[in-house]
Symmetry: C2
Subunit: 569 residues, 2 copies
């Protein structure tokens, strides 16, 4: 459709909309783009094109292909409190709120953002499809430098020539060409040959204050890091202090497909979905961009799902080199901070806005055993702020209740999960964190995770992430040398990591089946489960190798505080 | 009223409210306070008491007297973009939104806040009275230390014993007992004898990165500051990096009285009012608290008024020792960033949310002369974000328009102003910044401002604050040794500071009368006006002294590019 046509049709379309008609349409972004926008900032065209199709159910927005620059100047702005990411006022490129039925056909377009921008934000919407595009940023949110020399309490680092660096008060600061700051609070070494987290690496947490540094005559930086150890030639990654702008943020979305999409960089998680349902990720690739010499993809988890329902499917995806897990599927516990009256609790929850709503059935969970001991209905909520609410229940709080016990929406975090044909590895930390209470199938994937490949988390004392799986099938996967990273990233290929103070009284998880998998490994620690009712391990093949130096002795198959265990080696 | 009575009346009141009755009531906070709250955090009682009276027009909330602690934990939370203060998600103690008719009788209560809290936030409300209380914080947002020694590029500073200080990466950081950070980006020396900004002081702007420092064996800190000069024994004030929590924030309030209120500390301005009308400050005292040994009151302007109408009256007030001007009354210019079409401009404005609205009459002002050349009506606004909007006007943009010209709501910033019987001085910077287009009377005040006492600002190139006064009477005031601070804080007791590139073509201000005042002064520079049509200076008395060393020669009465000047020495 030409611009002139759009011009006249716009008026007619507006009239039709006003009359309540809702005919779907195909809108071409190229019709809204000027040459200047193509050179500098396509956002005004994106906004105008979206406004011309989002009121029309079933419409398609077609991007033009090529590289499309998007700056934050004109981007829409919203205050957001996104679970497991940092709250704040966000600039958004594609803002879809209250949209029913829209396909964004990327047509191979590379969206190239500059500055702190949330590429896609989707809220209270349904049937959204985004496909055939890639996401990158002119300045990434992690910084990378080559380790030249390591001394006693310092390292010489060579940064890329296009980095803007200064040393106010003698502290290393990264900026971009616009003077925007890129704070860091974490260091992580990557193996420059293997393009993965270095062998038995350490997490260096710095706090928000940065590193003391000096510029050297050769243009490199001498950075002062207490007790630092690393291998010269490797890459030192400076991890972003905050998770400000996920690639795709979904809140209360029913029906979402992400297909043939590459996420090469973003400031936070790749895809984060809260309170959403029926989500398909098909050939989504969280990877460093080809040919740009970068080690890291994105600055946090590749994907993350909280309190989702219906289904979550990840098929043929690649999750590599990001600075946290490949996925984490969980619910959210609120913590009982205080019993205010017979039927009232002050509940605390971080990030999850409106975690309790009138009519919600909430399970009461012991923070000592993680076992549910009652379920009650919320009658009223007095919200103090995003963290604290006074919640009134329909009847008296049970006798056995203790302050610090945790509560969750019993009808959420029930999604049926399928993870199939994916490559997962080379990143910081773990592979899949599985906590959905719905049936879970993990099949035909390849894992090269530096920590545990498949972890069952959930705890009521630190992260407050709800898990307690009921039915998990792990079959026909290939595990290729996992566990080469930091010790605390997991004790075995498949493990329970739930923080449960009184494990002997807990059967938090149930129904975990591990069948027909191949483990090619330098580390014999395959399974380490606890507090599970129902473990089946059979028809798996373990092929030992010496690809990595091995230094963490342990048993291959460990089950403690488990019932109904069937292990066939 | 007793708690038991409240308990039963609450139900009846709720029923009455539901039936639509609206009888005023007197609510006593003491009936909601438990002993625990009195010791730790009164906020839950404040919230409950407010909810019991804000629906009832003409009600009164009576505070209990004594010291009332308020912590941020339970405070209500809102994202706010407050003009001339930092945007963000704010915790609020007294949140009044959509309230018609409420008196908060403080009864001598000292509200003692801990952490980043906005004490009072009032929006879309009318007829609000707050009286008889004081506001302080357990940890102030400026930090103060005694200058012990000054060396070459360093100073030894002794901080109060209760300060929590650490030196991550060798940089000085202030925290409170809860670990909350108090960032600083500005240093200012105060005279410890005179309890005012030091004579011919310097503003040390640091940026957000802080100072390198070392702890000395005696517990003092050696702070490294390039080219630092100061007098040992004086107080060095570390100014807060951001203005996060004004004492009283008003947005769209019609009718507000603040009476007998002391503001001893807050993180931002004392009173900031946007788009409000009929505001009375009677015996409001922005001062350091008695007996606590602190030099500074609040961390920004004592008061600030933007786009206000009706009247602004400040009577019998004291504005002392705050880290910016005593008041600033102005409108807001938006900047034309781009001409999009014949009748469309992309307008930029910082802070002022929704600065253009359909139906608004906007004046077009040359950024070179600050003279208005047209007035047009807004037809439509496409808001990109809080900074940028695409504004469509009812007819074509005039021929003489230039990019960078500025626009303002022609019907706002019209308040009649009375400032009477106030003490104004000892603070950083200036006294009164007067920019209202309504009639202004400044009488019977005492000024001891370190910069200009009464300044007519307004510019279209840097702060974008609208001024252009029409009728100002300055009479029967006493000016006692002003101009002892930094040179850039003003060229005379009464001055125009408007940034106007083409002054010769501008008569931006008009009608300034200076009559019957006494100037007791070491500095002869009384008047320095430019671009004014109508200046009258008569019946004033100047008494010279040598109270301060004088080092800035200048003429007593300067008028340039003015018309209709009457000066009777």
């Amino acid at each position: 459709m030409r611009r002139s046509a759009i011009f006249f049709l716009g008026i007619i379309a507006s009239l039709l909309t006003a009359c309540g008609t809702d005919a779907s349409r195909t809108v071409y972004l190229k019709d809204y783009l000027t040459d200047e926008m193509l050179q500098t900032d396509a956002y005004p065209a994106i906004r105008a094109a979206l406004e011309d199709c989002i009121g029309h159910k079933g419409s398609t927005l077609v991007l033009p292909g090529g590289v499309l620059p998007v700056r934050k100047d004109y981007c829409y702005e919203k205050y957001m409190n996104i679970s497991n990411n940092a709250p704040g006022c966000k600039r958004i490129a594609f803002d879809l709120e209250g949209v029913d039925g829209l396909t964004i056909e990327g047509n191979g377009t590379q969206l190239l953002f500059s500055g702190y921008i949330s590429p896609f934000y989707i809220e209270n919407s349904s049937d959204i499809v985004v496909k055939d595009l890639s996401i990158d940023f002119t300045r990434t949110f992690t910084s990378e430098g080559r380790i030249v020399t390591v001394g006693d309490g310092w390292a010489e680092i060579e940064f890329p020539k296009d980095y803007v660096i200064n040393l106010p008060a003698g502290v290393l600061r990264f900026k971009d060409a616009d003077g925007v700051l890129y704070p860091y609070s974490h260091l992580l070494e990557f193996d420059s040959e293997r393009k993965e987290v270095a062998h038995y690496v350490h997490d260096w947490w710095l706090g928000p204050d940065g590193l003391r540094a000096e510029v050297l005559p050769n243009g490199n930086y001498k950075c002062f890091i207490d007790r630092f150890e690393a291998t010269p030639g490797n890459i030192l990654v400076f991890g972003a202090t905050e998770r400000l702008n996920p690639g795709f943020t979904l809140d209360s979305v029913d029906g979402f497909t992400l297909e043939n999409v590459d996420i090469w960089a973003c400031c936070g998680m790749g895809v984060i979905a809260e309170r959403s349902s029926d989500l398909l990720l098909d050939n989504v690739r969280v990877v460093p961009p080809p040919g740009k010499g970068r080690m890291v993809s994105i600055s946090a988890d590749a994907t993350h799902f909280i309190n989702c329902k219906g289904f979550i499917r990840m098929v043929g995806c690649t999750f590599m080199n990001q600075i946290d897990d490949a996925t984490n599927i969980h619910g959210w516990y609120a913590v009982a901070q205080k019993k205010q009256s017979d039927n009232q609790l002050v509940l605390w929850s971080n990030y999850e806005v409106d975690f309790a709503r009138p009519g919600m059935r909430m399970e009461f969970v012991s923070h000592n055993t993680m076992m549910t001991y009652d379920t009650m209905t919320v009658k009223n909520v007095l919200k103090y702020n995003d963290e604290l609410s006074l919640v009134t229940f329909d009847r008296a709080i049970p006798e056995c209740f203790e302050v610090k016990d945790v509560l969750a929406d019993v009808d959420a975090n029930t999604a049926e999960v399928l993870i199939k044909g994916c490559y997962i590895g080379n990143n910081r930390a773990r592979g899949l964190l599985i906590g959905s209470k719905g049936p879970v199938v993990i099949e035909e994937n390849v894992f090269h995770s530096p920590g545990t490949a498949i972890l069952f988390e959930g705890d009521g004392n630190y992260w407050y992430e709800q898990s307690g799986v009921k039915d998990v099938t792990i079959r026909n996967n290939t595990f290729e040398n996992c566990l080469y990273g930091r010790r605390s990233w997991g004790p075995a290929y498949i493990a329970v990591g739930s923080g449960i103070p009184q494990k002997e009284l807990s059967r938090y998880h149930s129904g975990i089946k591990v069948e027909g998998n191949i483990f090619k490994t330098f580390d014999p620690r395959i399974l380490n489960l606890c507090c599970v009712d129902g473990v089946t391990y059979r028809d798996n093949k373990v092929i030992m190798n010496e690809d990595y130096e091995y230094g963490r002795p342990g048993e291959p198959l460990v089950t403690t505080f488990c019932d109904n265990v069937t292990i066939e080696e």
